[in-house]
Symmetry: D2
């Protein structure tokens, strides 16, 4: 009950470092630090950050060993993430680590590997309105949310979103331009749990919105690993007389 | 985090009162008190019991108002449960109360109403061995369990179990006589969560088994209500200009 | 392969008979006959209709015995459908009959009984635009559809739709007024299959729209009963020596 | 309705060519030809075979272009399947080709890629009895089956089977030695459908069993591609005025 969740917030952190990119004004410290600022207020969370350009992308074996839940934001540099690190993160998820995939992370190597599909979608950058509706109010990730919440300016993501049918579908977005999107989706993979959450364009202050931060916070609690049975694989002796 | 879950253990409590029935020896205080004895050791639970032959089956409006999660065991007297009480329990579940349905509770009015199917199955009382396998080690209800556990003497329940496909299937039973059964199944209904757990025949000391009690304890924590958004229904004004 | 599907189109048929109701102009022969006109063009379907005010609501034992798939439209007179008939239709679905629930049929006795929830939702009659997006292009019910289709004037239905999580979610609606809705949902109950399809307000010519009719036609093919194994229930002899 | 399904039966075809391996006696022409012999009796199927040691593993672009559904059996040479061919088969599935994965194909590159998990399991070669129970008699893949069927001698596969929760779980196996297994599992990936079917050890005449062949035949019909909408991805113009 009183266990502390060790969170690693991973961010590509490229847009924000370009002084001519709007992200550098919205998130001068990077999106990871905006998210971290909120999570550090949670008494049950211990937060660190990691970014692409650190050695091993900041995801050393030591960091991975001390991570219960990882959040993932990437966009223009998915291909620069080394396959070796993706292998390690994949294995960690199957062993029970939670993974929260944010916005353009839909195209990350790790998410596509876990899904088995292209994870493609429609998109448009027009600063239009998005309204997210809770469609499953039985789920812990919806705790403390209103029935819907709005983002005044968002990038549009539209269906068809090429993902496996979610184990649990929590949020559906309405966009001003006429599209819809499954914006909050849960899957279980191995002993781990994966949550995809749509909002998060780098040029709008999405990660300063209270409802968005609440969903990420809830997602981390939901995805935190548990002391569940570790499966035994391989050749196996009969339990009954043959 | 530190909230206390108010649990009401409901039991038909008829078998145990018949002095010529084996249940009266196995559970002289009733199955509800065997379960309660375990749950009362949990610091995050506050436990009461209720039985069929109490006024309003022990489920007065006051009791319902103070119940977060209810467990349900019934067998020979499902028809004696009043429809009015079933209506109230049904409404409570849809409003967020957790419900743990045990063993022969598969044929209870409340479970069949929530499922929409007959909930019928095969059965046999031969005191045979049952082995329950965890098939989803990502789920909180499997916390602290071994990969499988056995009950040396159990009533057999066999497929086809006429239920809607579970939202989450956690346990599959192997029976000595050659059958299998989906023994741990989760569904969401309204804002509430429902867990069906198979073990529990009245003539064997099933509710004194540590693994069985652990599953019930975990199920209660998983099904505990949350502060999720209460849906608004009915006629609704547009949020955008038409 | 070449089997003919026997379809019974059930309609409340009250709005259309009121000469001062717009439905009487849009559907002078009733909505059932608009749907039937399309289905009768299908070489693999044999179509009949049945309505509330016929004896036994047109659903005699003989009609039920000859029905493979039933469609259901009701609105103002759900309470007038006799429980005895609902019991029979329920049993038929569990025995394998397909059921296509249309629009305001969401509040019918039969749909609520099969779902176990209130099936409540938001609604608004403002003649606004609806756009239905296909979110699962692997499903036979989406055969022959475009990626999305529009209804220029529709009644709005908005989430939260209080249903069990669909086994398969096919369509999500966008509404001009700012809401979204899970508009094409599949469930399995017993040996039967149930499809809920949202469009269909009585005052707009929804059942003359080619895409809407195509979805109904596809739904009927998907829900048609198959020669699947009939479960054996009850006391059962062991298959292995105990 | 009258369309013909073009089936490609892919087989590793190594065991059967070793004259000292029991498979060479059970399947002198290879398992693919045992399966093909049954499918060629189906008037709605057109069958070809392909094997690992053919050029491009028999899966040239021309063959892929003419394949509606592929079945996959591999065991000792998964690593020899070229990544380039796996890429092509993967893309075909997402574009709508059906895939039936048989027995030890659980460890094939293509299945693991589609699942995103290890697909590991327990196993034992002891020639023990397997009994497969139908748990979802609403599904077309169960058509024509009895409620359960038995294989007198089978390799055991036991849970935990490390797969994503199936979209549809059809069959659960009981093994003499005390294990259970989810033996018939369906998933949707992209516009394609994937069916895993457990039976099939190379040293027992599993693919001469009528029920096993019936399941494969049904699986192929269920997985056959349909004329569903091809999703549009990428940058997208608004459908409504912004």
């Amino acid at each position: 009950m009183s266990r502390v969740i060790r969170v690693t917030i991973w961010n590509e952190f490229r847009h924000e470092k370009k002084t001519d990119h709007p992200a550098s004004e919205v998130y001068p410290e990077g999106m990871h630090n905006a998210i971290a600022a909120h999570l550090r207020k949670q008494p049950d969370m211990k937060v660190r950050t990691a970014t692409l350009d650190e050695p091993e992308h900041g995801l050393t074996d030591a960091v991975l060993a001390e991570t219960d839940v990882m959040t993932w934001w990437g966009h223009i540099a998915h291909a620069e993430v080394s396959d070796e690190i993706v292998d390690k993160v994949h294995k960690k998820v199957l062993d029970g680590m939670g993974l929260i995939v944010l916005h353009s992370g839909h195209f990350s190597k790790i998410f596509r590997r876990l899904m088995g599909t292209t994870c493609d979608l429609k998109w448009r950058e027009a600063g239009e309105k998005e309204r997210l509706w809770v469609v499953d109010p039985s789920h812990p990730i919806t705790e403390g949310l209103p029935e819907y919440f709005e983002l005044p300016q968002a990038e549009m993501y539209g269906e068809r979103f090429d993902i496996p049918q979610p184990d649990e579908l929590l949020l559906i977005s309405w966009f001003q331009g006429g599209e819809v999107f499954r914006s909050g989706c849960c899957w279980r993979r191995g002993r781990g749990r994966v949550f995809y959450f749509r909002p998060g364009h780098e040029s709008y202050p999405i990660y300063k919105d209270g409802n968005v931060l609440k969903v990420i916070e809830n997602g981390i609690r939901w995805a935190a690993p548990l002391n569940t049975p570790a499966p035994v694989f391989g050749n196996y002796q009969p339990l009954e007389k043959l």
